[in-house]
Amino acid sequence: MNTAKFSLVALAVGAVVMTVAHWMHVDYLYFASYTILQFVVLATAWNILGGYCGYVNFGSAAFFAMGAYASVFMHKTYPLPVPILILIGGVVSGIVGFGMGYLTLRLRGSFFAIATLALSVVLQTLVVNWEYVGGSRGAYVIRPETIEFAGITINYIEYLFGLMLLLAVIALVTARTIERSQLGFGFASIRDDELAAEAAGVPTLRLKLIATTLSGAFMGMAGAPFPFYIGYLQPSSAFGLEYAVNSIAMPMIGGTTSWVGPLVGALLLGSAQQYAIVTISSAVNLLIVGLMLVAFVIIAPNGLVGLVQGWRRSWRKP
């Protein structure tokens, strides 16, 4: 299937999901599935750098929060419609990703990972000390009840849900396109043997920077509508550990080598968590995610997608 066809199919699936959701008309459904879609975007974004290039980013929460706080800043300075805020969030986080990458990606991979780990702590310090965006007290973003859209009035949460759905489709199409392009082969060569790739003439630093920027930008875009969704943004919720751990656990559990993995991982883990948050406590829920992450990296290194591929192969030759 070529990219144009795949995009059409993905959009069609998105439209069906949107229609079904509209038809069911339950507000809670929007709230719950918004979070899951947000994780689809985060997991896919993480996988562009982590899965394709093999560079681990522990700072997903930081990039996510950058997008969210860019929205808060703009909302206070000069209110703009959410789609534009998503673009701004993407640009801000993309620039942070580029800067981080430029400073640390020329060294061994572990330095980048450590730097991203520290990035969350520092950005959180900055935000806590920055009174304009609410400081440690947090900031209110009043969400309108409804929005006029081409003459039709729709519920605001449905509008946010639709935007996140579209963003998820764009992220998935981007990931799949990268996978099949020259860029994707370049990424894979870095993941498999960076030294050999460099020797063969692959511009590794440039490719890594492209991956870091793209990945950061998508995380920022996922975060930009978050203040409108939650209504009250605190540093501790924007920099929440669940973003960092989920955006790693989801691709790892789903499978990191193709765009399907993060999608499967995010849908499964995301829905399970939505269910678990209601039925058990959120700490137990995070513990389960952590244990699953450890179990999967040890037992099933290629995730669920890898397991399914393995079974298929063993079916064919009994």
């Binding site: 093999g54 330095f111 450590i114 520290a118 000390n129 550990l241 990191t256 995070l286 990296v297």
Partner: protein, 291 residues
């Protein structure tokens, strides 16, 4: 400029004491990351585990936290050796340490933190000991015993490790494995066994560091995250695998953080380590005393 000398001297003294404590916190990572090239980002979580063990026995039986941590050393050593065995079999042997190995340690960090939250809750916990409270005055400088005792213990710990790696056979083998694993194998030593011992020692230091941490400040499960940046900043700034470098870097970071906290406010202190880390990576990735 009108700087009060009182304040400045006290800030520097406090910084040096803090730096000594940071050295104990970093010692383990200096072994695992610096010498064995194992990016154990879960190390701060083990330190917090050490804090909670010290807390539990201190509150329940009134044992001194440092004594508890020394009794707990063998258990932490065993834990470390066990973790290394899993890490080796699942990742190092298959050549997958860069991506999945990191994710494994991240998962460990996370599981430890959340388990501690589930058992002890998110309240700040602290220990009781005779030296928490009083302080020594030398001229205008105040030296609280709460900081001085950890400083001394951590220097002793650091000295012991330095002696161990330079003077004993196993210590030298650890240095050798960090330089050339194949050569060590040719000399008839099993590098995996040496690495297991070294990793066990690295986790064992977390027991002592944890007890020191809870003497210095009240602890809650997520405090460890603040130390990830610090620990790796010190380790990289000092030069990977160099114990003296680590000590100097820890002292420097302690002083700079203390000065920042005194003159700009304590909420800015966590940013110092990260700035230091980025500057080191950008300008001198080999660190102060790195090869």
């Amino acid at each position: 400029m009108d700087i009060s000398w009182d304040l400045l001297l006290n800030a520097i003294a406090a910084g040096l004491l803090l730096g000594g404590f940071y050295a104990a916190v970093t010692a383990g990572v200096s072994i695992s990351f610096g010498m064995l090239d194992i990016v154990n980002i879960a190390h701060p979580a083990f330190i917090i585990l050490g804090s909670y063990i010290a807390y539990y026995f201190n509150i329940k039986y009134g044992v001194d936290p440092i004594v508890v941590s020394i009794i707990a050393l063998p258990f932490f050593y065993a834990l470390g050796a066990g973790v290394y065995q899993v890490y080796y079999l699942s990742f190092e042997k298959r050549g997958q340490e860069s991506l999945r190995g990191l994710a494994f340690f991240f998962g460990l960090l996370f599981v430890t933190e959340v388990s501690l939250i589930l058992v002890f809750g998110v309240d700040y916990r602290y220990v009781e000991a005779a030296y928490i409270g009083p302080s020594i005055h030398i001229g205008i400088v105040d030296l609280p015993l709460r900081m001085l005792v950890p400083f001394v213990v951590s220097l002793v710990l650091f000295g012991a490790i330095q002696l161990f790696v330079t003077k004993t056979f196993i210590g030298r083998a650890i240095m050798a494995v960090s330089q050339d694993q194949t050569a060590l194998q040719l000399m008839g030593v099993d590098p995996i066994k040496i690495k297991r011992i070294a990793f066990g020692i690295s986790i064992a230091t977390a027991s002592v560091a944890g007890a020191l941490l809870i003497i210095i400040q009240p602890v809650e499960p997520s405090v460890g995250r603040e130390y990830i940046g610090r620990v790796f900043a010190i380790c990289v700034f000092g030069g990977l695998g160099s114990m003296p470098g680590t000590l100097i870097a820890a002292m420097l970071l302690g002083v700079v953080e203390s000065l920042t906290a005194t003159f700009y406010g304590p909420s800015w202190a966590p940013a110092v380590a990260f700035g230091l880390l980025l500057l080191t990576l950008a300008f001198r990735p080999a660190g102060l005393l790195g090869r």
